[in-house]
C-alpha cells in the first residue's frame, strides 16, 4: 500500500485544505444531525413552544404505543416478503439472461427500466392498476372468470399488493448485481464439471451457488437496509391504511414529527429504527458469512 503513496513533502500541500469545506459540509449535514437528533429525542418539542425536557419518556411512549409496534411489524413483513420474492426472481432472471445467446442487452434494459423511475410515479400508476372498479388487474381477473379483489382497500391484500409493486420496481437492480456475480465465475469450472458428467442441477448447486455467496450477501444486506426505510409507497398508495395494515415505521415517524409536530417523539422512534437496522445488518453479516465456504 505504501508504494502507492507520493513522496511526502515537508509542508502540507495546499490542496489538502480543500478537504475542509467539503468534509465540513458533509459532516455538518451528515454527522452533526445525528447528535442533534439524539439530543432532541429527550425533549418534547413542537415547533411553536419552548422545548420541554422529558428524559426517556419518548422512548417509553414508543414502546407502549400500539401503532408503533404495528408499524414495526408491517415493516418487517414488507421487508421479509419483498426481499425473499425479489431475490429469487432477480436470480432467476440473471441466470436466464446469462444463458441467453442473444438479446442480452434488450432484456437487461427492459427489466431494469422500472428501477430508474420515481417511486412516486410508480405508486400512482399502480394505485390506478389496483383500482377495484376501473383498474386493469380486476378487469383481467374478470376476463379470466375470477372474482375481483379489493387490493389496496383490503387489510389482508394491501401490503402484499405494495410488495408486488415494489418487487416489480426493484428487481432489475438486484438482477444486474447477480449478473455481474455470475460473470465472475470462471467458465473453466463448469467445463471441468461437464467432463465429470455433472448435470445442470449439480453444477448450479456446487459451483454457482457457493461462488455467488458474496453477491448474495451484498444484495441481502443492501436490500434489507433499504426495505426497512420504505416510505413512499405507503404514503402515496394507502397512507397507512386500511386499518393500519400498511403503516410502515418511516411513514409513522414522518406523520408524528411533521403532521402532529411531535418532533422529539419522532426522533426517538427514528433512533429505535436505527438500532434495529444496525442489529439486523450485523445479524445478516454474521449469519451469512459463516456459511461462506469455497
Amino acid at each position: 500500500m505504501n508504494s502507492k503513496k507520493t513522496s511526502k513533502s515537508k509542508k502540507k500541500p495546499l490542496i489538502v485544505y480543500a478537504l475542509i469545506p467539503i468534509l465540513g459540509c458533509l459532516f455538518f449535514f451528515g454527522i452533526f444531525p445525528i447528535f442533534f437528533s439524539f439530543y432532541l429525542s429527550f425533549y418534547k418539542w413542537s415547533l411553536l413552544r419552548i422545548p420541554e425536557f422529558v428524559g426517556l419518556r419518548n422512548y417509553t411512549k414508543a414502546l407502549h404505543d400500539p401503532v408503533f409496534w404495528v408499524s414495526l411489524k408491517n415493516t418487517f413483513y414488507f421487508t421479509g416478503l419483498s426481499i425473499s420474492i425479489g431475490i429469487v426472481i432477480a436470480l432467476l432472471l440473471a441466470l436466464l439472461i446469462h444463458h441467453s445467446p442473444r438479446f442480452k442487452s434488450l432484456f437487461r434494459t427492459g427489466y431494469f427500466l422500472p428501477v430508474v423511475t420515481s417511486m412516486v410515479a410508480v405508486s400512482v400508476v399502480w394505485k390506478f392498476l389496483y383500482q377495484p372498479d376501473f383498474g386493469l388487474f380486476n378487469s383481467i381477473l374478470s376476463a379470466l372468470g375470477l372474482p375481483p379483489q379489493k387490493w389496496l382497500i383490503s387489510p389482508t391484500l394491501a401490503m402484499p399488493s405494495i410488495v408486488v409493486m415494489s418487487v416489480w420496481q426493484g428487481l432489475g437492480y438486484n438482477m444486474i448485481l447477480f449478473m455481474a456475480g455470475l460473470l465472475d465465475i470462471p467458465e473453466v469450472l463448469y467445463e471441468v464439471a461437464d467432463l465429470d458428467g455433472a448435470n445442470t442441477w449439480n453444477k448450479f448447486k456446487n459451483i454457482t451457488v457457493p461462488l455467488l455467496k458474496p453477491t448474495f450477501l451484498f444484495i441481502v444486506v443492501i436490500s434489507s437496509i433499504g426495505s426497512f426505510q420504505v416510505f413512499t409507497q405507503s404514503y402515496i398508495m394507502t397512507r397507512g391504511g386500511p386499518e393500519d395494515s400498511t403503516r410502515v415505521i418511516v411513514q409513522y415517524i414522518q406523520h408524528k414529527a411533521f403532521d402532529t409536530l411531535l418532533m422529539g417523539y419522532g426522533s426517538a422512534m427514528a433512533f429505535i429504527l436505527f438500532a434495529i437496522i444496525i442489529s439486523i445488518t450485523m445479524i445478516e453479516l454474521k449469519f451469512l458469512r459463516t456459511r461462506w465456504k469455497y
Partner: protein, 272 residues
C-alpha cells in the same frame, strides 16, 4: 437440438416477462392519452378509441412547469457539486498523506451507514434555523458532498500510477493542475456513472423535498405529482398524464445512456 429447445424456452420466458414488466408503463401511457370518459370505462379499452392530447397540457398548466424547473435546478446543481467534491476529495484521500487521514476517511464512510430518517427531523430544524424552509437551497446544499462519491472516487483514483503524478510534478505542474489535467481525464467513466446515479437519485428524491417544501415555489416534481394526485385522483387520465411527465424524461435519458448506468451499478456494487 436440445440446446435449441432450451434457448427457445429461455426466450419465451424472458419475453413474456418483459411484457409483464412493460404492462404498467403501457397502461400509464395509453390512459394519459384517453379522454376522461374512456379512462373510467369498465372493462377498460386496451387501445384508446380516441386520443386526447389535452391531458398533458392541463397537467402542465397546473404548475408542472414550475415543478420541472425546480427539479432540474436541484438535480443538476447537486450532480455538478457532487462530481466536483467527490473527485477532489477522492483525489486527496488517494494520493496525499496527512495526520488523521484514516480517521477522517472512516468518518466519511460512517455517514453512509446512517438512514436518512434518523437525521431528517434535526435537518429540518437546522433548515428552520437557517430560514431555508421552502427554498431550493435546502435541497441542494445538504447534498453537495457525497460520502459514496468520495469513496468511489478514492477507489478509482488510487489505481492511477504515482509515476504519472510525479512526472507531472517534475514538469512544474501544481497540485490543482494535476487534479484538473491528469486525474479528471482519467476517471471519465466513473465520473459519468456517478453523475447518472446522483442525478437520478436527486430527481427521484421524495421524502426530503416533501418535508422541506410547502408551496409551489420550491416544490419538486415528485412532491408535485403526489400533491396533484391527492387533488385530482378521480381524473385518472390527468393523473396518468402527470405520471408520464415525471417518468418520461428519465426513461428517455436512461435509454440513451444505458451502458453507463449498468457500468455504474456494477462498479459501485463490486467495489466492496
Amino acid at each position: 437440438m436440445k440446446k435449441k429447445k432450451t434457448n427457445l424456452l429461455i426466450y419465451l420466458a424472458l419475453f413474456s416477462g418483459l411484457i409483464v414488466m412493460a404492462l404498467p408503463f403501457y397502461w400509464m401511457i395509453i390512459t394519459a392519452f384517453k379522454p376522461p370518459w374512456e379512462a373510467i370505462q369498465y372493462p377498460p379499452t386496451w387501445i384508446p378509441h380516441e386520443i386526447d392530447l389535452t391531458n398533458i397540457v392541463k397537467v402542465w398548466g397546473e404548475n408542472f412547469d414550475r415543478y420541472y424547473l425546480n427539479s432540474v435546478v436541484v438535480a443538476c446543481s447537486v450532480t455538478v457539486f457532487v462530481l466536483f467534491t467527490s473527485s477532489l476529495a477522492g483525489f486527496i484521500f488517494a494520493k496525499y498523506d496527512f495526520a488523521g487521514k484514516e480517521l477522517l476517511f472512516l468518518l466519511v464512510l460512517s455517514t453512509m451507514m446512517i438512514p436518512f430518517q434518523v437525521i431528517m427531523i434535526s435537518l429540518f430544524m437546522i433548515m428552520m434555523w437557517l430560514h431555508w424552509i421552502d427554498k431550493l437551497r435546502a435541497m441542494i446544499v445538504p447534498g453537495m458532498a457525497s460520502a459514496f462519491g468520495i469513496f468511489l472516487m478514492r477507489q478509482f483514483i488510487s489505481t492511477i500510477p504515482n509515476d504519472l503524478l510525479d512526472a507531472a510534478r517534475i514538469d512544474g505542474c501544481s497540485d490543482f493542475g494535476i487534479y484538473y489535467r491528469l486525474i479528471i481525464p482519467n476517471i471519465k467513466p466513473v465520473l459519468s456513472a456517478l453523475a447518472i446515479f446522483t442525478f437520478m437519485w436527486s430527481w427521484n428524491d421524495f421524502l426530503w423535498p416533501l418535508v422541506i417544501t410547502n408551496s409551489i415555489k420550491s416544490r419538486t416534481l415528485t412532491v408535485g405529482l403526489a400533491m396533484y394526485t391527492l387533488k385530482w385522483w378521480t381524473q385518472y387520465n390527468l393523473v396518468m398524464a402527470g405520471s408520464l411527465l415525471v417518468i418520461g424524461p428519465v426513461i428517455i435519458v436512461f435509454l440513451i445512456l444505458q451502458k453507463k448506468f449498468v457500468t455504474g451499478i456494477t462498479l459501485s456494487g463490486m467495489k466492496f
